[in-house]
C-alpha cells in the first residue's frame, strides 16, 4: 500500500548526491542528539521519580567542565557542517565555464524559457543529459523562485535583476519545475516540467522545433528596430560606445569606477542608461524602461554577447569569464 509513496526525491543532477550526502550526515548527527537527550530525559524521569511532594533532589548546581564540553563539542560539529555545506553551496551557485545557456522570464503565472537557437517554451524546459546548463532569468512582475527539486537547485527571480541556476542533469526523464516564492493567486499553478533528454534526442527536439531566428538574431532585429544601431555603431564612431567584443570585459565609467560588462550591466544600461555611464560618452541615451519586455531585453543581451567573436549566435557561450557569473547577482 505504501509502495507508491515517495519518501525521498529523485537524484537527477550531478550535484544532487552531494547535497543528499550532506543531508544524511546532518540526519545522523541530529538523530544522535535527539535520541541521546530523549533517552536521558526519560531515564531520569523514570529513575528519579517520586510521588512524595516533599522529597528534595540532590544539591547539584552545575559543572564547568560539563558546560564547556557541551558547548564546545556541538560547536565543533556545527563548524564541520558549516564548512561542508559551504563547499557544496559554492558548487551549487557557481556555474562552470562551459555551459549551455538558456534564458527565462518569470511572470504571473508562467515560466517562459528562451533557447539560444530561438526556441521558446512555456512551463517546460528541454535539456540534454550530462551537460551543464545555466539558466539566466528575471521576473517581469513580483518575486518568483525557480526550483528544480530533483536537481536540488533554486534561486529567486527578482524583478530588476538577473539570477542564475545551473545544473548538469544526470538522468533522462521528466522532473518538476516549481515556483517556490509566493506570487499571488495561481502561485501553485506556476509549475512545469524539465525534460532531460539523450543528446541525440535533444538535438532532434532542437531541430524539430527550430525557430526561424536564433535568439541573437532576434536581438539583432530588435537592435535595429529600436534604432540602437544609429548610436552604437560597430566601428565606434557613433554617439554611444561600440558594443563589439565588450561582453565580459572591464569598462571604465565616468565616475572613475570600472564595471564588468555582464548580463546585469547590459540590462541596466538598456533600462536605466544614466546609471553607469561609460567614460567619454554623454548621457544622451533615453531609457527603455517599459518599452522593452524582459524577454526582449534577454534577446538584446544575447545579441551583445554574440558580438564577441564574429557575430552570430552559438549554442555554447564559452567566452564569458568564470568569475562573472556569480557576481551578476551582486551587481548594482
Amino acid at each position: 500500500m505504501f509502495s507508491g509513496i515517495p519518501l525521498f526525491p529523485e537524484q537527477a543532477s550531478t550535484i544532487a548526491p552531494r547535497v543528499d550526502n550532506l543531508y544524511f550526515f546532518i540526519v545522523a548527527v541530529t538523530a544522535f542528539f535527539a535520541v541521546l537527550v530523549s533517552v536521558v530525559v526519560i531515564v531520569f524521569a523514570v529513575k528519579y521519580r517520586t510521588d512524595d511532594p516533599l522529597a528534595v533532589g540532590s544539591r547539584i548546581h552545575g559543572s564547568i567542565p560539563l558546560e564547556l564540553g557541551w558547548s564546545i563539542v556541538p560547536f565543533i560539529i556545527a563548524v564541520v557542517i558549516f564548512a561542508w555545506a559551504s563547499d557544496v553551496f559554492f558548487d551549487l551557485v557557481r556555474p562552470p565555464d562551459q555551459t549551455l545557456e538558456v534564458y527565462a522570464t518569470g511572470k504571473r503565472w508562467m515560466w517562459k524559457f528562451q533557447h539560444i537557437d530561438g526556441q521558446n517554451e512555456i512551463n517546460e524546459l528541454h535539456v540534454p543529459v550530462g551537460r551543464a546548463v545555466k539558466v539566466t532569468f528575471t521576473s517581469e512582475d513580483v518575486l518568483h523562485s525557480m526550483y528544480f527539486p530533483s536537481f536540488r537547485v533554486k534561486a529567486d527571480a527578482i524583478p530588476g535583476r538577473y539570477s542564475t541556476v545551473w545544473f548538469t542533469a544526470s538522468k533522462v526523464g521528466e522532473y518538476h519545475l516549481f515556483c517556490a516564492e509566493y506570487c499571488g493567486t495561481r502561485h501553485s499553478g506556476m509549475v512545469g516540467r524539465v525534460v532531460v533528454m539523450e543528446p541525440a534526442a535533444y538535438q532532434s527536439w532542437l531541430s524539430g522545433t527550430l525557430g526561424t531566428t536564433s535568439l541573437s538574431q532576434r536581438g539583432e532585429q530588435l537592435f535595429n528596430d529600436l534604432a540602437c544601431n544609429t548610436c552604437h555603431r560597430s566601428d565606434g564612431t557613433g554617439r554611444g560606445p561600440s558594443l563589439v567584443a565588450k561582453f565580459g570585459k572591464q569598462e571604465r565609467l565616468e565616475t572613475g569606477a570600472t564595471v564588468t560588462v555582464d548580463e546585469s550591466y547590459v540590462r541596466e544600461s538598456i533600462l536605466t542608461p544614466q546609471a553607469k555611464l561609460v567614460l567619454g560618452y554623454k548621457p544622451l541615451m533615453p531609457t527603455f524602461q517599459g518599452l522593452v519586455s524582459e524577454e526582449n531585453v534577454l534577446a538584446l543581451v544575447e545579441y551583445v554577447k554574440s558580438l564577441q567573436a564574429s557575430g552570430g549566435g552559438s549554442a555554447v557561450s564559452s567566452a564569458e569569464p568564470a568569475h562573472a557569473a556569480p557576481e551578476t547577482r551582486e551587481n548594482r
Binding site: 558547548s71 556545527a78 512582475d141 516549481f178
Partner: protein, 543 residues
Amino acid sequence: MASTASLAAPTAPLVTYLNHQHGVASWLLTKDHKRIGLMYMVVVTFAFFLGGIFASMIRLELATPAGDLLSADTYNKMFTMHGVAMVFFVLIPAVPAILGNFVLPLMLGAKDVAFPKLNLLSWYIFVIGFLFTVYAMVAGGVDTGWTFYTPYSSRASNANVMMTGIGVFITGFSSILTGLNFMVTIHRMRAPGLTWFRLPLFVWAVYATSLVQILGTPVIAITVLALAIERGLHFGIFDPALGGDPVLFQHMFWFYSHPAVYIMILPPMGAISEVIAAFSRKSVFGYSFVAFSSLAIAIFGFLVWAHHMFVAGISVYSALVFSFLTYAVAIPSAVKVFNWAATMYKGAIWLKAPMIWAICFLGLFLVGGLTGLFTAALGVDVHIHDTYFVVAHFHFIMVGGAIMGYFAGLHYWWPKITGRMYSDIWAKVAAVIVFAGFNLTFGPQFILGYLGMPRRYHVYPEEFQVLNVLSSAGASILGVGYMLVAIYLLASLFKGERVGANPWYATGLEWTTQSPPLPHNFEVQPIVTHEAYEYTRREVTVG
C-alpha cells in the same frame, strides 16, 4: 479530582485581586498587572482560536491535491491570516504579556510593574491593533503571506494590505512599551536581597526578551511604514519599477522578524526552567550558563537575519557569514537543552501535569532546534528553502516550543492565577494528545519538504497526497488536544479543588502569597535571603 496538592483542604482567601472590585469597569480601568495579564489572556486566546480556524481550513484544503474546498485566493488569505494572527497576536504576546504580566512582579516581590498605567495602555494599544487586523480580515482578508514581501504587497495585491499593516504597526508599540515596562521593573522593583543572580531564570528570559522588543520592534514599524508609503503614495522604496529594491524589504523585515523568533521562544524557555526546577526539586543545572545564554541568544539573534535570504540574491560571501553566525546562535540554545536535562539528574521528580507538558516541550523543541541545522547549512538550504521542510521546522519551534512552553507555564501558574486546581489526569492526557497530534501534523512535512513540495501551495502534485493526509489527520488530533485543554481549564474555574499558597511546594516569591494573590500581591514586603531554587528546607510556606 484526585490531587495530592493539598494536604489540609485550603479555603478561599477572603480578599483577592479577583474579588476586591467588581464590574466591567473595574477590569477595563484596572492598573493591576494580574488583571491586565488575564485581559491579555482573553484576547490572545481568541486570536489563537481564530488562527486555529484558519489552520484547519488550510489542512482541510490540503487533504486532497486539487483545489476543491477553497478558491485559490481564499486559500492564500487563509495561510496569510493564520500567520498574522498567530505570530503577532499569539506567539509574541503569549508568554511575556500573559504569564510575564502575571508572575513577573510576584517573582520580584513587587506590588506591580514599574509603570502600571503604561501597562494598561499597552493592552489598549494591543487591542486596537488587533481590531484593525480583525477588521482587515473580515472586510475581505489579506493575501500577501505574513511576510508581506514586496513588490507583491506594494504593487500586486488587491487585498487589505494597508489595514493589516496598520494593525501590525500599532500592535508593535504595545510590545515596545511592555518590554520597556518589564525592563524597568526588573531593574528597579526587586525585593530587598533579590540580587541579579538570585532571580528566577524566567526573569532573565523576560529581561532578554524585553531587550529584543525594545530594539527590534521599531524596525518592523519602519518597514511597514515604508511599505505603506510605497503602496499608498507610489514612492519607490522596494519596487524596482519605481527605482526601489525588493530585497531591501526582506533585509528590513527579517531584521525584526528573526529576533522576533526569540521574543516568542525565550520567555517559554524561561517558563520551562521554572517548571523543570520545581518538579525536579533542584536548582537549575548551570544557573549562570542558562541565564547568560538568554542574553547571548537575544544579542546574537540580531546578527542572523539574512539566513532567510540564502536564495534571494544576497552575495555568496554574506551568505557564508550569516550561515556561520546562525550556527553560533544555535549553541546557547543547545546549552539550555543540556542544562534542563542535567537538572533532572538526581532530582526528586514529581510527574505532575506541568512537568509532563515541559517534557513534551523538550521533545518538540529538540526536533525544532536540530532541524535548524539543516536550514542553516547553505548547500542544503538551497533545496529546502521555501518548502514544507521550513514550515515543519518553524512550527516545531513556534508551536512545539513556544506554545508548549506557554502551556507548561500556564499549567504551572494556573492554581496561582485562579486559586483552583484543574484535573491533573486530563491535563496529562491532553499533553500527550497534543504531543502525538503535533508530531503527526508536522513530522510528514519534513519529508514533503525534502521531496520538494513548496510552501503556500493551494494545489499540489498527486504523489504528495498520502503525506498531506497524514498531516491533516494529525492536525485534527492536535485540535482535539487543544479543545481538551480549554474544557478542563474552564471546568476548573467552577469545580476545581481550592489550593493554598503553594500547591507545588515550589520555591519562588510568587508561591509565598495566597492563591489567588492579594490585590497588592504581598501582605508584607518579602525579603530574599537565599538563591533561587533552594530546595533544602521543606518547611517552606505550604498553606
